[in-house]
């Protein structure tokens, strides 16, 4: 008890010292309270048969009925597989890409060239996802840019986005293109924190550029890589839902339909199965949570870095 009051008085002292900081943090705290914590209350309709008239609290309990329905649903395996595969590809190809770019940029000595490359590579990040997807859809249409190029090499033109076989490639490649430059900034920042004396010493020892990258640069940014990896794994199931909505069509549901798009369609756009889709969304969150904890543990074991 005493310790608690001690803590509070420390907090109060800290507040008095850094008032503005606390005020600055307020909107963020409010944001999380209002938009992230408060809505959690609504998640209980996953265990109820939600009827608008009876309200969230007044609706009848049905236990795990909706979860059971979902696990037995025809679409369960498909959307689970798609969600995991799309995320996995994003992780496999999308995660190392910015690290690679950062390492390459780091080796550049020509400042103006470096800056130019950097700027060009992160411009796509600032374009709205709606515009990006509009471009992708346009480029992959039957008479679009990609097909013109394919035709140039003697290929047959086809509607690329109507073929389930292409969806994952288009999705992953465009994500890498869009986020490559911007994600590399954080690595570049970490790179600049490496003590230059280490390189000088390596030079004296006669280490080649590649050796230097391997023994100095990479170990220097490993903690950053691990932290970002944990975050990525935690969000593994939370695949970019807007982007899929904007890119997919019923033809490619086979490979494109993921949990979040399924929830969107069943929940509000085609039918209004509120309870069922809440259960599906909750399932996704639980898996995410488990993955996050797992990745954090793993990272602690491997590199002694952890998030919490």
């Amino acid at each position: 008890m005493k310790e608690l009051s001690h803590k509070f008085s420390l907090l109060w002292l800290n507040y008095k010292k850094n008032k503005a900081i606390y005020w600055m943090a307020l909107p963020v705290v409010l944001y999380f309270l209002v938009f992230k914590y408060l809505p959690m209350y609504g998640a209980i309709i996953a265990f109820k048969d939600y009827s608008v008239g009876k309200g969230i609290w007044g609706s009848d309990w049905v236990g795990l009925q909706h979860f059971r329905d979902f696990f037995q649903s025809y679409y369960f395996w498909r959307i689970l597989k798609n969600t995991l595969l799309l995320s996995f590809y994003q992780l496999l190809f999308g995660f190392p890409a910015p690290i690679l770019l950062a390492l390459l940029l780091n080796e550049l000595r020509h400042e103006i060239f470096k800056r130019t490359v950097q700027t060009i590579s992160y411009i796509p990040h600032f374009i709205s996802i709606v515009v990006i997807c509009g471009m992708i859809v346009d480029f992959s249409s039957r008479d679009g840019l990609f097909n013109t190029i394919i035709g140039y090499f003697g290929g047959q033109s086809s509607a690329l986005l109507s073929d389930p076989a292409n969806f994952r490639t288009i999705y992953t490649a465009s994500s890498i293109w869009q986020e490559l430059g911007f994600s590399s900034i954080i690595y570049l920042a970490a790179l600049s924190g490496i003590n230059p004396e280490l390189y000088d010493a390596a030079n004296v020892d006669g280490a080649s550029r590649l050796r230097q990258v391997w023994h100095i640069t990479l170990p220097g940014i490993i903690p950053m890589i691990m932290i970002l990896l944990i975050l990525r794994i935690g969000g593994l199931m939370e695949i970019g839902f807007e982007k899929i909505i904007l890119l997919y069509n019923p033809n490619v549901y086979d490979t494109a339909d993921v949990i979040s798009t399924f929830v969107y369609r069943k929940g509000i756009s085609e039918s209004a199965e509120f309870s069922y889709t809440t259960a599906v969304g909750l399932f996704q969150s639980v898996i995410n949570f488990a993955l996050l904890i797992g990745a954090n543990r793993l990272s602690k074991v491997i590199s002694n870095t952890k998030l919490f």
Partner: protein, 542 residues
């Protein structure tokens, strides 16, 4: 990492910056602004009730999606001339709330889920479910007392009353009615100029269709001899594909076969249809991009003469396409084709005929504080005066009486601002899309200005009575039934549409049709049919 960040901010705070009070204030000011902006986000969206000050009438808010012909010139339906006139005549103040175009279902579902309701909503929905969920109220007593005009119509037309009333006799909607001759508004149109050029007859049977489409493909070299994919909902097969499916005497949903409810896609005829459509696809007779078409690409293909035949509406479709086509090619011509059949001399069964009650209407929500006034105001449209206002607008401005026949003025037919007939109508009154009241035949007669449109209306209506034998009437389901039914059917619908595309493209060989049927049976289509059958029996017993 977190450690690092906190440390960082500490050192920032430790700097001398904070001593300067103006900066401190500025910071706090910005923080506050940000939090206000963040919170402001929640209250947006449903901004409705701007209280009318003083003794003005209480405002009635009506949620309704806006027709595209209206949204081209107006921001809100409040600006429609007839609505302003209506407010004056009934001494009410109407406030329309419009969902964003393309997101109507989403916004409706979100509105229902959050229970933030307007006074009234114009919907085409599951009325019994809305009522049982406590969203809307029963209107029988209100109609008896405050809607004498509607009451009279229902008494004079028992068939309409039967459609409007639920199984237990409840009425939930102030309806949109079509009591006149015109009940089919769309169908397949063909490039008559190409038929003439190739010396071909207008196709009637599927065989003739194949010949014509082949000729379009080979001699005209068009990309989409038959265009479909079909707006507005891309997730369904679209109206054009069912047209050809319906030649087999079935449709892609539940319908009536000898008085019994059946589900089309599991009937053997569906396989025959898929086989034929797959062949058409392979031979390039149908649009290769049918599955990804949207309104934009659909229009583009028609207007660039890449489509030989396509489904469209007589009024809004042909009225727009034909003049635009003729601008670039004066010889271009579109004519209506009869709903196709299998054998020469057969009569088509499905003709897209709508019921007398179009299933849409205004419902009153539980948060309506003035149900009497709302019903009274809406009943105005069923009066002689209101009927004219809805269908023809304001006398002198949009129509004049010539020999007892309300004739549209040039404001409508030759709009000085260059609006099409549909758009000019939508600016002044509500005739060419569903709204409370009764459609007038004299509106349709003039809406269809071109000879091709007039012919189409006659042709499409020729067999419209046949549809009564196969079409399901507006039945109503109980809440439990409706929940179960929509759950089954939404799974089946997604599956059916996906498989349709696969079968047509050929990703799925037609030999797997039996597996397709098995899967639909696994979804428990039997139960869905049972539910519909029970509802139909109850309907017939009304």
């Amino acid at each position: 990492m977190t450690e690092l960040l906190i440390h960082d901010t500490h050192s920032m705070g430790g700097r001398e910056v904070m001593k300067r009070s103006w900066r401190k204030r500025l910071t706090i000011g910005i923080c506050l602004m940000m939090s206000i902006a963040a919170l402001g986000g929640c209250s947006g969206g449903n901004g409705s009730t701007g209280e009318a000050g003083g003794d003005g009438p209480t405002p009635i808010s009506i949620w309704m999606s806006m027709n595209t012909n209206a949204s081209i010139t107006l921001k809100s339906m409040n600006e429609i001339t007839a609505i302003k006139e209506w407010e004056k005549k009934t001494n009410t103040k109407i406030e329309f709330q419009h969902p964003a175009v393309g997101a109507e279902t989403e916004q409706f579902n979100v509105m229902i889920a959050s229970n933030q309701l307007p006074d009234a909503m114009f919907v085409n929905g599951d009325y019994a479910k809305l009522f049982n969920d406590g969203i809307i109220i029963r209107l029988n007593e209100l109609i008896d007392e405050y809607a004498p005009n509607l009451k009279k119509i229902l008494e004079e037309n028992p068939e309409v009353a039967k459609q409007l009333k639920a199984d237990n006799g409840d009425i939930y909607a102030i309806p949109h009615l079509r009591l006149g001759e015109y009940k089919t508004f769309g169908g397949t149109f063909i490039r008559q100029d190409w038929l003439d050029e190739l010396k071909l007859e207008k196709p009637e049977t599927l065989e003739e269709w194949e010949t014509v489409l082949k000729a379009f493909k080979e001699k005209k070299g068009v990309a989409a001899p038959l265009l479909f994919g079909a707006p507005p909902k891309m997730t369904t097969m679209g109206p054009a594909a069912p047209t050809y499916l319906e030649a087999y005497g079935i449709t892609n949903n539940t319908f009536m076969k000898d008085g019994k409810v059946v589900y089309g896609p599991i009937e053997p005829e569906y396989k025959e249809f898929l086989t034929m459509f797959h062949r058409w696809y392979q031979e390039g007779l149908i649009d290769p991009d049918f599955a990804t078409n949207d309104q934009k690409t659909y229009d583009a293909k028609i207007l660039s003469s890449q489509a030989g035949a396509f489904f469209t509406f007589i009024g809004g479709g042909v009225g727009r396409y034909l003049p635009a086509l003729q601008e670039t090619d004066p010889n271009a011509n579109l004519t209506a084709t009869q709903y196709p059949v299998l054998n020469k001399g057969d009569e088509p069964l499905f003709t897209g005929r709508s019921w007398e009650w179009s299933s849409s209407g205004v419902v009153l929500t539980n948060s309506n504080k003035h149900p009497e006034e709302t019903v009274k105001a809406l009943d105005y449209f069923f009066s002689e005066e209101g009927h004219m206002l809805k269908n023809f607008g304001v006398e002198g401005l949009t129509y004049t009486m010539k020999d007892d026949y309300p004739t549209y003025t040039d404001e409508i037919l030759k709009n000085p601002d260059g609006l099409s007939v549909a758009q000019a109508m939508a600016k002044h009154f509500i005739a060419n899309y569903p709204f409370v009241g009764e459609d007038d035949d004299r509106y349709n007669e003039q809406y269809y200005q071109l000879q091709q449109q007039k012919d189409a209306a006659v042709l499409f209506s020729k067999y419209s009575e046949n549809t009564l034998k196969v079409g399901l009437p507006p039945t109503s389901l109980t809440t439990e039934e409706s929940t179960e039914y929509s759950k089954i059917m939404s799974d089946i619908g997604t599956y059916r549409d996906e498989m349709f595309v696969k079968f047509v493209i050929g990703v799925e060989p037609i030999e797997n049709f039996d597996k397709f049927v098995d899967q639909i049976n696994k979804f428990n289509v039997k139960r869905a049919i049972e539910i519909q059958q029970a509802a139909l029996d109850r309907y017939n017993a009304r």
